[in-house]
Amino acid sequence: MSVTQLGMPQVRHGVGNIFETEPFPKYAERELKNEQLRANLGFATHKIRDKRAAVTGELPDWQDLRTAGSMIKQKVMANLDTYLEEFERNFTARGGHVHWARDAHEANEIALKLIQAEGVDEIIKIKSMATAESGLNEYLEENGINAIETDLAEEIVQLGDNDRPSHILVPAIHRNRTEIRDIFRKKIEGVDPNLSDDPAELAEASRFRLREKFLSTKVAVSGVNFGIAETGTMTIVESEGNGRMCLTLPETLITFMGIEKILPTVEDYEVFLQLLPRSSTGERMNPYTSTWTGVTPGDGPQNLHVILMDNGRTAALADEVGRQALHCIRCSACMNVCPVYERAGGHAYGSTYPGPIGAILSPQLGGIENEFNSTLPYASSLCGACYDACPVKINIPEVLVHLRGKDIDAKKAKKKQIPTQMDGLMFGAKKLFSSGKLMALAEKGLPMSKLVTGKDHKISKLPGLVGGWTDYRDIPEPPAQSFRNWYKKERPSETKRVAGERVDIDALIAQNKNKVAEAHAAAEVAATDKPAPKTEETK
């Protein structure tokens, strides 16, 4: 193109399954009441959590690997245009076809045309987040094409009535074995009516159904874990081998790839093969790792396509703080350690992407202006467990707070917006917190709080927005006097300025560098002592 574009390019947000469907707190409230779901999730997340902690803890260079992963991803994002074109050249040179899709609709349309060109009405699929994001299965169904999920968990979700995935790695994490047995008994033709909930028997039932499909279906659709720019290589890591069947048996393979999935070189891939399995399934290495580079005559699919999908990723890339969400390698470690996900479950996030990563990815792909997506960045206590667990060091709490700021700014920018209770609360607190004098004056009113506290010295019911607090907890009666006002009365004349040298704190810290270990050792010794008996005076 010869025309130089001036100014900011138009931000194009994504479409498809990247939206919350109602405010998060409302969805979560309903899900929290589902005792079975809470039990299934608590059991499963804690189990994966422990496995992950064990296999990441055993690597002496785990933190260095995380840093390397983070830096490679930063490099990719800074040069994404160059790497994508390099990937396209190399993929094409080896006999593949590259298609570019600005959003999920375009990606689905391209896939449909490619499938129709093969003259089939049924395809097999390997588990893929990108096609879940684009809503490919539903789109194909509307156009008379049956898409069969071959990943065991995806199959469970697909066979379950009106079900949808609730986890990136374990899409059926919300189901237990008994529920799965019931689904299989009902939905798999010719299955043993006495099928038990033994995992081996369940897997056999699934295998029985899928083997025939693998051998007879001509077209497969896949996602991809990484696309390597220097060679045009694609790669998928998986556990079951069903993916391997999809990637090798059909004549045509169509791969959906988010444009952020690029790695510059094969050497970079080495880092991620160490990071991904340990972070996701908690295994040192996953059972099946497939890589394919172009077409090999007489071996594997002869028609290779890749659909490079943007769908809001460029919009996320434009945000300097938020773009780190694109570093995500879909391992799901963040949701496995998240206390909010553990209780509310994946469905509460609405989007294909649940958990902490979903809370920062969905609002960026689909736009923070979206009414319900704007509730996602608040679905976190900012405890930071996700940041610690992330294999590519995405600072999720930082991005959550950043997106909250964007949400408030977007709402303030709307004309004729009526201030919310929250706006009022924040405005009042700002005035108060901007001056110590004003605080001192306001705190003189603390004894007034006696008027609202009960005989038991606590507040058990608050009105409006803050009523959420007293739904679950009491508030202590405020003190008769604030610290500030007590202190001023006790010590009315403190000197602000004093002459003389200041102590060198850094030197002191250096001098005390063994004290942390010493304190811990002392605590360990104290713990072995017998506790002193309680005396009447202290009880």
């Binding site: 209780r343 408030i408 927005l465 009491d474 003190p479």
Partner: protein, 265 residues
Amino acid sequence: MRIALFSTCIVDGMYPKVAKATVDILERLGHEVVYPQGQTCCSQMHVNSGYFDDAYPIVKNHVESFEEWDFDVAVAPSGSCVASLGHQQPMIAERKGDDDLARRANQLASRTFELSELLIDVLGITNAAEQLDSYFPEHVTYHSSCHGMRLLGLGTRQSDLVRTVEGIQYTQVEGLDQCCGFGGTFSFKNADTSGAMVEDKVANIEKTGASVCTGGDVSCLMNIGGALSRKNSDVQTIHFAEILASTKENPLKVNGPVSLTGGSK
């Protein structure tokens, strides 16, 4: 040493006894404590709620009110508020284009320590019974607040000091590294999820058999204590500064759920 106390807004207004205990401990060690009267809040509530513009005058007030005073080091009985100084204040200033304030905020943050960090790393305290005369003959468990643990990397500093208090019996809580569900405005914006989190936390605390749950942030302790109070539990929450300040001569009284009230000592 001349130590400036940053009381934090919630301790100032709701738990003055925690600030008093902090002053007690530091003066017992022979240090001079000063209290910059202009101080209010670190701005974290506004930042974490997305009100960045409103946070700016609060950040400015914090930095200016401490700059008016000469001191060697500043201290706060809170991991969360100290973390906010370094992690959030410079961002808020930069966003307003006030690079000078960002630089000064960073400088102040580098001289402000969480209480256990100050006691161990700066003042070299390794044994509360021996060096602070701390005495508290109770069965205690401990909640490790997230921001101190993850943003400041406090490790076991707080519980180590607590465990070396004379007479204390200590039992570690199951799920020590799990968030209590407070999360500032999260506690009422996502009240049901937050409530489910604190329910689990409180159940684990009660399982220890301890009569006291201590910790380093009164915000989390208010959440945990409020949930304990709601189920009429006998367990109460007490900031670790109060436990360190307690001595044989002047012991901290533990009488049922009274510590829920913020009243003076």
